[in-house]
């Protein structure tokens, strides 16, 4: 509750929060099928219909309602983004904490493996994984999760190492506190702030990657809608039906903007205390 109030007191938090909230609503509606029209229904007589009061964002080559498909696509993208970031954050936190806490050999092994993953350009690694497992929603989730795991590992390991050297951890050792107590209470609890920020920014990146994969035809498969796919389909019709490109393009952009703004706001909100705590 206090967190929400802090977000809404921050200008970019307010805008970002509003955008993310709106998208969440659209995503839920899109997934539940509560769209203006059936997103898969082909209104053959109204093919490439320009936006008007019936078709708010026009129709595509098959006469499907763009607004409805957009909502469905947002739902699709959000599922991929949330699951992939959840997996990456979980795996990255466990690996990063393990590397920082056990140190030495563990740290070496974990970080070298992460170096290998980081040596691939992100989209290439995702492409490779999709090629192995075949395109589809779950593949996208796994691919994005694997690409983002090393980043979470780093985000956790660095602060965990500096927390480990803090006097309150020394104090805990003098009482003989158990490792699990120190790791959960003294390390993990203090990592909540940087993790929250990173999760928000990772969501923006996951939306971007999902759209990219779909754009290349390796993400969500037709006839299901996805923003990247819609954008890719619009390319040959750009001059006759620009709305096919404009709406999905802007929709992707604003969704990413929303998470970026929210992430920035969270960083600002957490920072003063983090600075005091980690200074």
């Amino acid at each position: 509750m206090r967190m929400l109030r802090a977000i809404f007191a921050h200008p970019s938090g307010r805008i970002g929060g509003f955008i993310v909230g709106l998208y969440l609503l659209l995503a839920v509606l899109g997934l539940l099928g509560l769209t203006p029209h059936n997103p898969l229904m082909q209104y053959r007589i109204d093919r490439l219909h320009a936006p008007d009061s019936t078709y708010w964002m026009g129709t595509d080559l098959f006469g499907r309602d763009v607004a409805s498909r957009l909502m469905m696509g947002i739902g699709q993208s959000f599922i991929v983004a949330f699951f992939s970031v959840a997996f990456a954050a979980l795996a990255g936190t466990v690996l990063g904490l393990a590397a920082a806490w056990f140190g030495r050999r563990w740290d070496g092994i974990v970080m070298r493996v992460m170096d290998v993953l980081l040596a691939f350009p992100a989209i290439l690694l995702a492409l490779l994984i999709v090629a192995v497992a075949g395109p589809g929603t779950w593949t996208s989730i796994v691919a994005i999760a694997i690409v983002y795991t090393p980043i979470f590992t780093r985000v956790v390991r660095g602060p965990a190492l500096s927390l480990k050297a803090r006097e309150f951890v020394d104090a805990a050792r003098t009482f003989g506190s158990s490792s699990s107590y120190i790791v959960t209470r003294h390390l993990l609890l203090n990592l909540v702030a940087p993790l929250t920020v990173q999760i928000t920014l990772a969501l923006a990146w996951a939306l971007l990657t999902e759209a990219g994969l779909s754009f290349l035809g390796l993400g969500t498969q037709p006839p299901a809608a996805s923003l990247g796919l819609m954008l890719s389909d619009s390319r040959n019709l750009m001059e006759t039906a620009p709305w096919l490109m404009i709406f999905p393009g802007i929709a992707i952009m604003i969704s990413i903007l929303g998470f970026n703004l929210l992430g920035d706001a969270l960083r600002d909100i957490f920072d003063p205390r983090m600075r005091r705590a980690l200074a």
Partner: protein, 582 residues
């Protein structure tokens, strides 16, 4: 005769509405040519803001001068009101007419530029010197602050020099263009006491040479006795008292000045040591802690494969014992091994060799599995900011297999009350407490397990002087009540004098002198102890001239397998031993 600087009714505020948020209110003073004014106050008193207002650096920190005037007599005799000066005017005055040095020499020099470049910059800006001329001038400036081998040092970057050397570089930079006013903002606070003495001596000497005026800002009223002509005492943004040095020190009129002079620990050469619990008879009881030949070495790795090529002898053959109810202070400068000793006793650092035994105290109920507990230096870092005070105090009990029951809660409540914290503290978080309160919390936490020995590692060093005094009082009371033995690690002789029964002086990882506090402080025998004590500022040592000494601390890095020769000791009196110097 127009004074060099005349400040009247100065008010400075911060934030969007500076008038409503003033941290300096109506400060007035005058400074004549060649005079030194000391501004004394604790943190938040507005002393630094006052100083930064004079060269208008306060503007860059978000401050705004909301009232009053600062009149500076310029080199040509004209008078300029600095509160109304334009930024281009000010850049001509800064460095040329007003120089400034700061508290943290380590961070006050640009890390990516050589010190030569940074000194030359002053000459370039104000004298128009370039190239070889500027370099020569910079070398001269370094010579002036007695930096040996100046020509070579010009090419160094700040990370290659020690704190004391860097502060000299800062002074050289600030004085490069012979400003007639030097503002020194706590210039020695971050330095060791012997280095502080060096810097003070240097400042006094340069002042004599150049006839400049100086504004010296400090929290330590004892320190100004040696250098100031006038003192201004500040509290809460207001100048509560100002006057001649002797007048302020001998006949303080304001209650706060009296408090600073009387209640705050000042070094008194052994006259203010504790009179209770001296070690004359009690030697037959078992010591609470006994340390034998403690050695801590860290391998020095070098080369591509990181092979150990030597070892840092951080602690080298330290032994002492500590009786119940007794305080042993370990004093030394940074890098002497005093903190490593403390951490080794607690097992936070693995000792290479040596043994220690701690006996569980028999007198009180509630025996502890862990007879030694510790209070750390930084009260902001030693409490987990995300846990409530209740969780923090409960941690030691949970760690030793206890449970958070009503007995534990009752104990927390008693201890909180005992260390002087409100009872509703339990649900609150550390950031809701001040530094002094946090240190009380740390003390309460350390007492949760009924220890017989408490290690206090610079436990009051981070606190303001008047808070320091109160925490020391609390520690003494607790010691009497619970019969605690304290191992008190500190660099601050004035604090040590108030709390120690015995003192061990540690230098380069070895104890060089140990014994009864009064005896060690009033009649030091080892050359290092003498030097250390001579460097401590004191109110009764007025206008004393410190001697310049550029000796460096010996390196602690030794080749692999090196063993120092066994120590030989000389006994003075009942309880005072000194290591025989090689």
């Amino acid at each position: 005769m127009i004074p060099l600087l005349s400040v009247s009714g100065l008010s400075v505020g911060f934030g969007r509405t500076p008038q409503a948020n003033e941290v300096v209110r109506g400060v007035s003073f005058e400074l004549a040519d060649g005079e030194t004014l000391a501004i004394v106050g604790e943190s938040g008193s507005g002393k630094s803001v006052t100083a930064l207002s004079i060269n208008r650096l306060v503007d860059f920190g978000g401050g705004r001068i909301t009232g009053g005037s600062i009149k500076l007599k310029r080199a040509d005799g004209s008078v300029l009101d600095l509160t109304a000066a334009s930024e281009p005017q000010l850049t001509k005055i800064r460095g040329a007419e007003i120089g400034m040095i700061f508290q943290e020499p380590m961070t006050s020099l640009n890390p990516v530029l050589t010190i030569g470049t940074q000194i030359e910059e002053s000459f370039r800006l104000h004298r128009g010197l370039t190239g070889r001329q500027a370099t020569a001038a910079a070398k001269e400036a370094l010579d002036r602050v007695r930096i040996p081998d100046a020509a070579r040092r010009l090419k160094y970057t700040p990370n290659q020099l020690s704190g004391g050397m860097l502060q000299r570089v800062m002074i050289a930079t600030a004085l490069a263009c012979n400003p007639r006013l030097l503002i020194a903002d706590e210039p020695t606070t971050a330095l060791d006491v012997t280095v502080q003495a060096q810097i003070m001596a240097l400042l006094a000497e340069l002042k004599r040479e150049t006839g400049m005026s100086m504004i010296f800002i400090t929290h330590d009223i004892g320190l100004v006795a040696g250098i100031a002509d006038k003192i201004m005492v500040m509290q809460g943004g207001v100048a509560v008292e100002q006057g001649e040095l002797n007048q302020i020190l001998d006949q303080p009129r304001h209650a706060y000045t009296r408090h600073l002079l009387q209640d705050v620990p000042h070094f008194a050469s052994g006259r203010a040591t504790r009179s209770d619990g001296r070690r004359d008879k009690a030697l037959d009881t078992e010591p609470a802690l006994k340390v034998n030949d403690l050695v801590v070495r860290f391998p020095v790795k070098s080369g591509f494969f990181g092979r150990a090529t030597g070892a840092v002898h951080a602690v080298d053959g330290v032994d002492f014992d500590l009786m119940p109810g007794e305080t042993l202070a370990i004093v030394g400068e940074s890098g002497s091994g005093k903190s490593t000793t403390a951490r080794a006793v607690l097992g936070l650092v693995r000792s290479t060799r040596g043994s220690f035994s701690a006996s569980v105290r028999k007198a009180t109920a509630g025996q502890s599995a862990l007879p030694i507990q510790m209070v750390f230096q930084n009260p902001y870092a030693s409490l987990n900011p995300r846990l409530t005070i209740e969780s923090i105090l409960a941690e030691p009990m949970i760690a030793t297999g206890g449970r958070l029951g009503s007995a534990a809660r009752a104990k927390m409540a008693t201890l909180l009350k005992r260390v002087g914290l409100p009872e509703n503290s339990l649900e609150r978080y550390p950031h809701e407490f001040s530094g002094g309160q946090r240190q009380r919390l740390c003390i309460a936490r350390a007492l949760m397990l009924n220890p017989s020995v408490v290690v206090l590692d610079e436990a009051v060093s981070a606190l303001d002087v008047s808070v320091q005094a109160r925490v020391l009082e609390l520690l003494v009371d607790l010691q009497r009540e619970f019969g605690l033995a304290y191992l008190f690690i500190s660099h601050d002789m004035a604090v040590v004098e108030r709390i120690a029964h015995r003192i061990a002086v540690i230098y380069a990882g070895q104890i060089v002198e140990i014994g009864d506090a009064r005896s060690v402080l009033s009649a030091p025998k080892h050359a290092y102890t003498k030097k250390l004590i001579a460097a401590v500022p004191a109110i009764d040592r007025r206008r004393e001239r410190f001697e310049l000494d550029t000796r460096q601390v010996p390196s602690l890095v030794r080749p692999l397998g090196f063993e120092p020769a066994p120590a030989r000791w000389e006994q003075f009196g009942v309880d005072h031993r000194v290591r025989v110097e090689a």
